[in-house]
Symmetry: C2
Subunit: 311 residues, 2 copies
Amino acid sequence: MREKAQVREVGPRDGIQMVKTILTTEQKLKWVREEAAAGAKYFEATSFVPPKVIAQFADAPDVATGVLDIPGIEAAALVPNLKGAQRAFDIGCAKVNYVLSASEAHNQSNVRRSTDESLQGFRDIMAEHSARGLKGKVVIGAAIATSFGCTIQGHVSEKRVVEIAVELAKAGADEISLADTVGYGNPAQIRRLFTDVTKAVGKIPLAAHFHDTRGLGIANVSAAVEAGVRRFDASLAGLGGCPFAPGATGNIATEDCVFLLEELGFDTGIDIDKLIPLRKEVESWLPGERFFGMVARAGLPKTYRATQQAA
Amino acid sequence: MREKAQVREVGPRDGIQMVKTILTTEQKLKWVREEAAAGAKYFEATSFVPPKVIAQFADAPDVATGVLDIPGIEAAALVPNLKGAQRAFDIGCAKVNYVLSASEAHNQSNVRRSTDESLQGFRDIMAEHSARGLKGKVVIGAAIATSFGCTIQGHVSEKRVVEIAVELAKAGADEISLADTVGYGNPAQIRRLFTDVTKAVGKIPLAAHFHDTRGLGIANVSAAVEAGVRRFDASLAGLGGCPFAPGATGNIATEDCVFLLEELGFDTGIDIDKLIPLRKEVESWLPGERFFGMVARAGLPKTYRATQQAA
């Protein structure tokens, strides 16, 4: 029995928030449906940001409703505030992901509030979650954006990231993600900060959200694995980016992340060979975009999943 | 004082052995000269394979002679056999790199000999090296290709790689490289095999030669660093590949490798900002090729080299 690791497809959310094409609701649902058929179980399917901020998510309620019909998956909706969470709760989303930023500058740019105000926003969401009796029914994830640095403010204090994680834990988060929103993280820093946050928050599962802006994305996954992390966001074809973080580029590619984790001996449940045709279809929907990831081009090695065996 | 790490530019050898364009001798020398001006000290500048095998290296004697005029660098020539080594010794190359393959199938494809015959070839080179009184004057590197798997034969025995390394050490190699010729290696395997080889060969410095075929190249560098490796081959723009290993693609990109090592706290001596214009020039020489590496596209973070500092 191999240990399980989660690769969470965030393409239908992070992956398409900066692309030029607005996908149809049916395309977004098809993406989730076909990736689920390839074995993916975890998704961030849409975002309840106001459509005037990101037009791509004007159909968020339809996508969030549509994914409820796909069996065997846990589909999350990203929410920037209480109102977004209420909409997600109303629909019955399996998971709600809240995001705030460790960088004050990025948090202001992203949601026009201080990080402390955003922390209070999370407490308000948790109060609503309790009041509605959703504890143990709707999973709440909390993500700390720009945990490893910020293109606006530069350095981000690791101590501050730990403090924020502790506050999110106290407020009742079921999971805490550290996000390298702009690809500033390196393996040593990843190992150190995930270790420190683990010590500070105890048993709450940690997740990693990495962008491959400067080529270290997969190295950072490997480092996070060493620090005990087993949950990773990724986007098919390495799509993605943050419209409020200058210079942000794509998430780590789902295909390459799955490849790494399987080669490290983990069971992701995902069949890479089935991701490749889906990737091609998604590419065909998004003319003029850049696509990343190496496995889709090179194919799997003859020795795939066998390298852990004895020499 | 930061610990030093070597990034060795292999672009003028591995990087161009599969490209469609034959570079001029002056272009190859300009590449080395300008990268030396960016702080690079270590190069694999050419290959003494027969020109009928790889036409790109018909000017190997001229390149090997030309680099002797570039101050402050150690430029190696790759040699496939004793005859190649004799030519390199005649010219006065600072370093001679011999390569043999842990995969019998790849060794046959590459040099039409068994791995044991190639080991004997290395002993013959070392005898010549001694006979000419070059001990302590000309550095001899020995590289074990397909150390982590082979596109022809598939699995490669780790025990066999250790055995070969021990034989190379006994024969007097000044350095032993483990090469992931076809991008089959993963971080766990890298950590394990470099650790095992270190135990077996003692104090001889180990080097890593990784290709980024399936996206794990930089993660593998990070893993090798953990195993104590401080010498890494890389190619500007991620060029490269082996004509005798089906499916082989580019080396890890020099820019990204330097970025990782500097972010991990090492001193490579290389100024990434000076690599970018050189990369553009090399790209202009090689129409129709694919270029890789993320740092050249995204630029350096605001926090470059500062991420190791206290939180």
